[in-house]
């Protein structure tokens, strides 16, 4: 596998240094930025394969970086990296176009693996994100407390298989283990996860925002 070119966006210099060290030689770090505006400018200049993006930045949410860069450089992919577990933050950055979300407690090798996956165009779901998605896309309206159905039932429903995959990820299974458990190939698992990501990004905003804010009020 070729060495993906990585760009770091985080407002903590210490954390950037730590990530740089953990990424090691498998990846090429082409730049760093500590806020929205320098990030947008530098990413446009250097066109990395993957941007590791902090959800919280002084100049606004990480979602702004995604939106600003996506317009001009659709080939740049984003992986959100955050300490925040607030569902709204996670959903917001994913909806802005990030290809995945992992927490900052992720181990070095797992992070490298996630970056490779995103560089290859796949989605990366942490157990927590998988849990959020399952929660937001609850299958049965009675389980959602009678949530109003949205415009496109196709987009707002997960298939049984996607649900199984997400459930296994939420249980802490790696993609490989998910594949073994369901007797499918890793590629198929990746396809399912990407499909879920697409639904997450395209489905009507209504139900998701409603879910996220209710979830927050708990």
């Amino acid at each position: 596998m070729s060495r993906p070119r990585v760009f770091l966006v985080d407002d903590h210099a210490l954390f950037r240094a730590g990530v740089r060290a953990e990424l090691g030689d498998d990846l090429e770090v082409v730049g760093e930025a500590d806020d929205v505006e320098p990030a947008v400018e530098l990413i446009g200049e250097r066109e990395p394969d993957v941007v590791l993006l902090d959800v919280h930045l002084p100049g606004g949410g990480g979602g702004r970086v995604v939106e600003a860069v996506k317009a001009d450089h659709p080939s740049v992919r984003f992986l959100a990296l955050s300490v925040s577990d607030a569902p709204e933050d996670v959903i917001a950055v994913i909806r802005a176009g990030a290809r995945g979300y992992v927490t900052k407690t992720i181990s070095g090798p797992e992070l490298v693996d996630a970056v490779h996956r995103v560089a290859a165009g796949d989605a990366v779901f942490s157990p927590r994100l998988a849990g959020f998605v399952l929660d937001a896309f609850a299958a049965d309206p009675t389980v959602t407390g009678g949530a109003t159905p949205s415009f496109d039932p196709e987009l707002d429903q997960l298939t049984q298989r996607e649900r199984e995959v997400l459930r296994l990820i939420a249980r802490g299974y790696a993609y490989k283990e998910v594949a073994a458990e369901l007797s499918i190939s890793v590629k198929t698992v990746e396809t399912h996860v990407s499909a879920v990501l697409r639904k997450l990004q395209l489905s009507s905003r209504h139900q998701l925002t409603r879910w996220a804010s209710e979830r927050r009020l708990l």
Binding site: V55, H56, L57, P58, G60, G61, G62, G63, R64, V83, S84, D85, A86, E88, D89, I91, A92, V93, R95, T105, S107, P127, R128, A130, G131, L134, D135, A138, D140, T142, V143, T144, G145, R167, A170, R171, G172, Y173, R205, L208, T209, R210, A212, S213, E214, R216, L217, L218
Partner: protein, 532 residues
């Protein structure tokens, strides 16, 4: 916090010493050629800044300078203005734009209409923070959940209609304690014996004057003196018993009067021009009032308007000055309180933990444990709004119980628990057993697996609640459970089967372990509290 008593230095931050008070800005808007526009502009500017302050928005936003129309942008107006305020507040808290329309943000926070304000609990008190005069309107508004402006307008209308509003306001001011105080002005005055003695000393003076007046045949002096005496005695008592801040406020209000009633910023010529102009207008009004045509409506109305206009021209800058001072004082106060709140929170948690960590720097495990529990606490305060150290109210639900489990196990053992909950429901006996079994499985993984993380996944479905506890540690052969692993069998299998659930352990040497627990949901419980 259990460890808060372990001898840390207190007073690391004294919130009272470092309060930045914005310097007053004398004569910032002295525009002699257009005093009216300046007045309106300044007042609205103050008003908007004040709104931002009280509603908790950012303070750095400067006013647009594009004429009066610009001043009104985003101000008042149902429901866009308030909604935008809430959106800004949301962004200030979360660092990102809300993923929902602005009005929804406002509504989520309880502001269904523009006239609604933040509601406070507790007995009725005069507001300390939200006050223009005595804080009565602010206090009442907070109590009933209205915008203070609405209550203020009601008071003013009542005052204009019959003077009833003034009486009510003064009574409330005297009888209601300020927030954080236990006694009202009236109750303090009743116990202020020296003040009462001073007030009673007025009586002989009044009597002497009355006698003299009747002797000289000037009865009107007598009635005038009685009212004056009672008023003076009351004012003495009130003055002695109002709070320090209110005394300061009155002193500040009257200070400009001693300087001829004009702000220091304007030039002497400007003052003279303004005074002349005002006097002319007022005199014109007086002439109309006294001598004007006999048409019933035009004379009093036009005269009064002209007199008022004259007064505004003469005293406008002074009033403006007062209003500006009031707002600045309030801004500084709100800022100071906010800082004190954050400082005490930080002191209680972060600084204490840092002190502990320094002391235990030779014990890395302990340091990690402390850092982890502190991180969790801080995060729950920042992102979930839970007050650190307060009891966990969410403990009666599945999600609350699982996050409690996560916390407890992380605190006690040196590993990270990654808990994910999908759906939620109230706990009953059976689900408590499920959570207990899950806790046992997690502790088991912490003790034996050697894995640095354990994943806990709980899912609430219509018919059952399931829980998965997974580690990637050494694993074992379930067929050959060693005798020291009886705990798992007893507390997990036993507990689950007694409550009608099932437990399954999937493990292989080197492949980690997963415990799968399932508990059917009971009809009554399910109907009462459907999961989301």
């Amino acid at each position: 916090m259990a460890w808060s008593g372990e001898g840390c230095e207190h007073g690391l931050i004294d919130p009272t010493t470092e309060t930045p008070i914005p310097p007053p800005d004398p004569g910032a808007r002295e525009d002699e050629l257009a005093p009216i526009e300046a007045a309106v502009r300044a007042f609205i500017g103050q008003w908007r800044r004040h709104r931002r302050r009280v509603w908790g928005q950012d303070t750095g936003d400067e006013l647009p300078q594009t004429g009066l129309a610009g001043e009104f942008a985003g101000w008042g107006g149902p429901p866009g203005g308030r909604a935008r305020h809430w959106q800004r507040r949301y962004e200030a808290i979360h660092g990102s734009s809300p993923d929902m329309p602005a009005w929804l943000v406002a509504r989520r926070h309880g502001h269904r209409h523009w006239w609604h304000g933040p509601r406070r609990v507790g007995p009725l008190r005069r507001s300390h923070e939200d006050r223009l005069l005595g804080g009565v309107a602010g206090g009442v508004a907070g109590r009933v959940g209205l915008d203070p402006t609405v209550v203020r307008i009601a008071f003013v209308l009542a005052a204009l209609a019959s003077g009833f509003g003034v009486t009510c306001y003064v009574l409330a001011w005297l009888l209601l304690p300020t927030e954080g105080e236990h006694s009202s002005i009236a109750s303090r005055a009743l116990h202020d014996w020296r003040g009462i003695a001073l007030a009673l000393a007025v009586i002989p003076v009044v009597v002497v004057v009355l006698v003299l007046a009747s002797a000289l045949g000037a009865g009107w002096v007598g009635s005038f003196m009685t009212a004056f005496g009672i008023g003076a005695a009351g004012l003495v008592l009130i003055w002695r018993n109002v709070g320090e801040q209110e005394r300061d406020m009155v002193a500040r209000l009257t200070r400009p009067l001693s300087r001829l009633g004009f702000t220091g910023g304007g030039s002497w010529r400007g003052v003279v021009v303004r005074a002349m102009l005002g006097l002319c207008v007022a005199a014109g009004g007086a002439v109309v009032l006294l001598l004007g045509s006999n048409r019933a409506v035009v004379r009093p109305l036009g005269g009064v308007l002209l007199v008022v206009a004259g007064a505004v021209v003469i005293f406008g800058p002074w009033w403006l000055h007062i209003v500006r001072d009031l707002f600045e004082e309030r801004q500084a106060r709100a800022l100071a309180e906010e800082r004190a709140e954050v400082a005490s929170r930080v002191h209680d948690s972060v600084l204490q933990t840092l002190a502990l960590i320094q002391r235990r720097s030779d014990d890395p495990q302990q340091v990690v444990k402390l850092a982890r529990s502190q991180e969790r606490e801080l995060r729950s305060w920042l992102f979930e709004g839970q007050v650190p150290g307060a009891g966990d109210l969410a403990d009666t639900t599945m999600a609350g119980a699982v996050s409690r489990l996560e916390r407890d196990v992380e605190d006690r053992y040196d590993l990270a628990v990654e808990a994910v909950v999908v759906g939620d429901c109230e706990l009953d006996d059976h689900l408590c057993a499920l959570v207990d079994a899950g806790r046992e499985a997690t502790v088991n993984a912490a003790k034996w697996s050697g894995s640095p993380t354990v994943s806990v996944f709980a899912e609430v479905e219509l018919d059952e609640v399931s829980m998965f506890v997974r580690d990637r540690g050494v694993g074992f052969d379930p067929g050959q459970v060693a005798s020291d692993r009886r705990g798992l069998a007893e507390s997990v299998y036993g507990r689950m089967t007694r409550h009608g659930g099932t437990a399954e352990v999937r493990s292989s040497p080197g492949g980690g372990t997963e415990v799968v627990l399932r508990m059917p949901r009971h009809r009554a419980e399910r109907d009462q509290a459907p999961a989301r």
